[in-house]
């Protein structure tokens, strides 16, 4: 197809042509970045937790007043929960993945080290790994004789003796921590320091995500052998078959209430709810971004349709003359398609540059990675197709103009 006549005709509608180009460019730039943001959100919402999410329920209780017998109460609670039919594992956890409160500790490989090696989330609770259902890669899980009571640990830590027997001596780390601290080496038997206290690595789990501060290393988590007591933000976690969760949750609440009615239930939910509540803002943002992308593409497409219709109406006579001089319907159709293709191409080229600039701006302000190169060809194809689809209607109408129009005046 000859391009020159198209260019010369466009040059008579410079402003309108440029407006179409600008519109396509802006749409291209915004949609590329919006889709990229969507993909980032989707990745975040699908983050691997490393635990048996569909088998867990959470119950968080708070005491009314100070409980001197909290330790005994906790053991009774755990025993009662274990007795509920269908329950496979039970634990009291100090914190859990996908919650807003987080306990972290900076760790070192050598107590004299100036800067900490990394800051990791600490998970503790007897039988916690088994209840979470974390997958052991190498070594062993924590054993009963590894565990220390939380109050004794606190007292010993305050005492300042790094070799106090009341302090935990072993821990389990995630693969991510192992890879960061000792890349390519066997982590078993190596030491991690909490302050001046050395802890021996006895096991590595495949995945265990931290509660919330993912930017500091999403899977920098440690399992330490400490027994918490009920209250103070700790949660009972109960593992059971997926279809049993609602029944077990009800039975567990009844059992806990029977043991001590003077307690307030802060949370009672399945783990699926935990995940869905934690990521609700991301879900809303994703919905919004999708909505804006669709709206942008529709507005742009309708704009092309409208403009195409005008141009066709305006050139009816010229089209008639061309048809009378021997141009086929195909020629006319291709003319408008090529014209749209040209405009779209210029728009896409400018749009890509703009998309890259917006991405640089976002990287600066929103901790986003660089826009993957694949977005450019995909975005181009998308906008070309939308342009072609939008112009098809007006172009077909143009092709249907009969040659006889040439002989009529006004």
């Amino acid at each position: 197809m000859e391009i020159r006549p198209i260019l010369s005709s466009l040059s008579r509608h410079k402003i309108t042509a440029w407006l179409v180009i600008i519109e396509i460019a802006l749409t291209c730039a915004i949609v590329c970045n919006a889709v990229f943001l969507i993909s980032q959100r989707v990745d975040r919402m699908n983050m691997v937790s490393g635990i048996a999410e569909h088998e867990l329920v959470e119950i968080q209780l708070a005491n009314l007043g100070v409980r001197p017998d909290a330790k005994a109460r906790t053991q009774e609670d755990l025993a009662a929960l274990r007795k509920i039919p269908g329950v496979t594992q039970v634990s009291l956890a100090n914190q859990m993945p996908f919650s807003d409160s987080e306990t972290n500790n900076s760790i070192k490989l050598d107590p004299t080290q100036k800067l900490p090696s990394l800051s990791a989330a600490l998970y503790w609770g007897e039988n916690l790994a088994q209840t979470f259902g974390t997958q052991l890669v190498v070594g062993r899980n924590l054993r009963e004789d590894d565990y220390r009571d939380l109050d004794a640990v606190n007292k010993a830590a305050a005492g300042g003796d790094p070799n106090d027997k009341a302090l935990p001596r072993v821990l389990v780390i995630t693969q991510a921590v192992a890879d960061k601290l000792w890349p390519g080496k066997n982590p078993l038997g190596r030491f991690i320091y909490f302050g001046k206290t050395p802890e021996t690595v006895v096991g590595v789990v495949a995945h265990l995500v931290r509660p919330a501060s993912f930017s500091q290393g999403a899977e920098f988590s440690l399992l330490v052998p400490i027994r918490p007591v009920v209250g103070d933000g700790s949660s009972y976690l109960i593992r059971t078959a997926p279809q049993e969760r609602q029944r077990v949750l009800k039975a567990a609440l009844a059992a806990l209430k029977a043991l001590d009615p003077r307690r307030v239930v802060i949370e009672k939910r399945t783990w699926d709810d935990v995940r869905s509540e934690f990521f609700q803002n991301d879900r809303a943002m994703t919905g919004l971004l999708v909505g804006v992308c669709v709206a942008l593409l529709v507005v742009t497409a309708l704009g092309i349709v409208g403009l195409g219709s005008f141009w066709v109406a305006q050139r009816r006579r010229t089209i008639g003359v061309r048809r009378a001089l021997g141009a086929t319907r195909g020629n006319i159709l291709h003319y408008f398609q090529t014209e749209n293709f040209l405009l779209a191409t210029i728009g896409i080229v400018i749009g890509m540059v703009l998309a890259y600039a917006i991405n640089l701006f976002l990287m600066l302000h929103y901790e986003l990675p660089r826009l993957p190169v694949i977005y450019f060809p995909v975005g181009a194809v998308l906008l070309w197709s939308i342009g072609q689809l939008a112009v098809l209607g007006p172009a077909l109408r143009a092709a249907a103009v009969p040659p006889v129009v040439a002989t009529r005046s006004v």
Partner: protein, 432 residues
């Protein structure tokens, strides 16, 4: 004349109903989206205490040990108990309050209501006058109540409604677990946004606490603390001596001279603590005012800013789209315009006529956009975020919307109208 132009415009718009609808809709969508996001941004980045905020300051000290020290470190966001108490008792500011968040178990007197947990704030006497917290009944507690660990409390009107059906409850006892405190005051409706005095609580835009207790009393009753806590060095169970920052401290300084003097005092205090061996790092203090502190803490969620950028990008595309369509439409009528010019209509008259036509589009788009903004804000309010309930259109935003709509319609109308007026009448007449 205007009436005639309006008639002409409506006539012309009726000729291409689909197209008119498309142009109005595009402008409406753009304005609706921008106004929704701009309103949310406006609400979230607003001043929580207009008229007072410029006299409120947030002192920061650097009490940490040399472990992990880097010269570029900012001082911690909060104070230790020792420093907080020292600054509080020094009374170098016009007013000062030390505080932290917590939760308390509330046991209603009526047996029909189950015990529940309420958010609480443990603070000192100046909190209420300094932040201009309005009292519905009674009064705040005094500094001597702080010193004597008095069993007193101020409660929110919400809790007062729930427990005492909105009656004056001062003098009544409030049962918190095993302990009871006497209610001395009931706050009137008060919800500063953001929750500036402790931004770590529920996403910075949470509601005001229901129970206010003297900090000393809360520590004495061993009530649960909430919020951020950062510790270094050795571990310690007693927060009063632990090397942990967990308290917020606010001061009121009424003149620039006092601000300078307080800054000097903080430096002096840090040097003194360093000489005592308590502080080890180089002296590093901050004294940001309220709005400066919110800015430093990046309180406005980045998602909200991103949404605003996105909405304005969308508006831009919608405007370009409308300008293009309108231009094409006007150019198509070149013949008609040429005839009118030849018959003696001035350029100005044509321009005015076309501007009326595009103005009608822009204005209808703006009005529809305003309606869409109301729908959009309603949608935002249905969302789960803590700030959702705040998304309301106020007078200033209504005015902004109106100006935006007029501006958008002018931009969308001026260029096409001007361009169409440049037609040479003779040429148009000849070509037909």
């Amino acid at each position: 004349m205007f009436g005639y132009y309006l008639d002409m415009a409506l006539h012309s718009l009726r000729r291409n109903r689909m197209l008119t609808a498309l142009m109005v809709l595009a402008i409406a969508l753009g304005i609706g989206a921008s106004m929704t996001t701009l309103t949310v941004l406006h609400v979230l980045s607003g001043d929580p205490l207009p008229g007072t905020s410029q006299t409120l300051f947030y002192p920061q000290l650097e009490p940490r040990d040399m472990d992990g020290y880097q010269p570029t470190d900012e001082p911690p966001d909060q104070l230790t108990w020792i420093d907080g108490m020292n600054l509080l008792h020094a009374r170098r500011a016009d007013r000062q309050a030390l505080m932290t968040g917590g939760t308390v178990p509330v046991q209603p007197v009526q047996s029909s209501v189950d015990p529940f947990y309420s958010d609480a704030r443990y603070t000192t006497a100046d909190f209420f006058p300094m932040f201009k917290a309005p009292m519905l009944y009674g009064r705040a507690w005094s500094a001597s109540d702080d010193d004597s660990k008095a069993r007193v409390a101020v409660i929110s009107s919400k809790l007062n409604d729930k427990l005492f059906s909105g009656k004056d409850s001062t003098g009544q006892m409030l049962q918190l677990g095993d302990d009871a405190v006497r209610i001395v005051g009931v706050l009137d409706r008060w919800r500063p946004n953001p929750h500036f005095y402790d931004i770590n609580i529920s996403g910075s835009y949470g509601p005001t606490e229901d129970v206010f207790l003297p900090l000393s009393t809360a520590r004495d009753l061993k009530l649960t603390n909430n919020g951020m806590m950062n510790c270094w060095g050795g571990h310690n169970d007693h927060l009063e001596i632990a090397p942990c920052t967990w308290l917020q401290f606010w001061v009121q300084l009424d003149s620039p001279a006092k601000v300078a003097a307080y800054r000097e005092y903080l430096t002096h205090y840090s040097q003194e603590q360093k000489a005592l061996g308590r502080f080890q790092r180089p002296v590093n203090i901050r004294l940001l005012d309220l709005m400066g502190w919110l800015d430093y803490q990046k309180v406005v969620p980045s998602d909200v800013r991103l949404q605003t950028w996105l909405a304005f990008g969308f508006l831009l595309v919608c405007l370009v789209n409308t300008v293009g369509l309108m231009l094409a439409k006007f150019m198509r009528r070149a013949g008609e315009l040429g005839v009118r010019r030849a018959l003696g209509a001035s350029k100005r008259a044509l321009f005015a006529q076309l501007l009326v036509e595009s103005g009608v589009i822009g204005l209808s788009g703006g009005i529809c956009g305003l309606l869409l903004a109301f729908v959009g804000l309603w949608l935002v309010r249905q969302r789960p975020s803590s700030y959702a309930g705040l998304a309301q259109l106020d007078m200033s935003m209504l005015l902004t919307t109106f100006l935006l709509a007029i501006g958008a319609s002018l931009i969308a109308g001026l260029l096409p109208a001007w361009r169409a007026c440049q037609i040479t009448p003779a040429l148009q007449l000849k070509s037909n």
